[in-house]
Symmetry: C2
Subunit: 120 residues, 2 copies
């Protein structure tokens, strides 16, 4: 779930935790970022890596990541269209965060790396 930007946040010393969470939250953002760490990808290339995502959701999540300054969207004026997504430098700074999330998940949750589905 991505919440409204500029919404007032609870402020305690842990405030920054939620601030970060709100930016990378969204059902697919974590995985999208994860794949983009490995390099620039086209729209459909990302889609292939997320077999269950709908076109609409991929667009939505990418737009939010772009809006938040994590992802750069490059449109090539060709026919058929070609759009590439890559991380901005700000997006790169999220790598330790995403990797911490992945590391914990790998160590503490059981899921099968199957074709396209895993169960928590």
């Amino acid at each position: 779930m991505t919440r409204i930007r500029h919404k007032s946040l609870e402020c305690s010393p842990g405030c920054a935790v939620e601030a970060t969470l709100q930016l990378i939250d969204g059902k697919w953002k974590g995985v999208i970022l994860y794949h983009l760490f490995q390099g620039t990808l086209r729209f459909n290339e990302i889609r292939k890596r997320l077999p269950n995502i709908t076109q609409r959701m991929l667009t939505t999540q990418l737009r939010e990541l772009e809006r938040d300054g994590f992802v750069l969207r490059t449109v090539y004026p060709e026919v058929p269209p070609k759009v590439e997504y890559s991380l901005t430098s700000r997006g790169q700074t999220l790598e330790p965060v995403i990797m911490a999330l992945k590391k914990w998940g790998d160590e503490h949750t059981q899921f099968q790396h199957g074709h396209d589905v895993c169960v928590e």
Copy 2:
């Protein structure tokens, strides 16, 4: 947002990222965990540290954290009631994750540590 347990997850190499996110997501879970890293707290002690949370939401989030094995709830059969919350060993393992989120937030978002509210 906390999603249903055992829901099928998208499985790609980044699957673990979302698996972890789904567990610590929830508007207040990150901050609650953050405060519990500093030691056992009573219900109202947590509440004081999260000035804007409602009683219902604090209960809800704590119950989910308990359900997911991160938090231990200890009820003292007294009048008036006394309930203490502490981290389980599994909860402790989240510390690097939460701290990575906090570190990023501290370095990359602007917010004011005020009385009770900050703006992203």
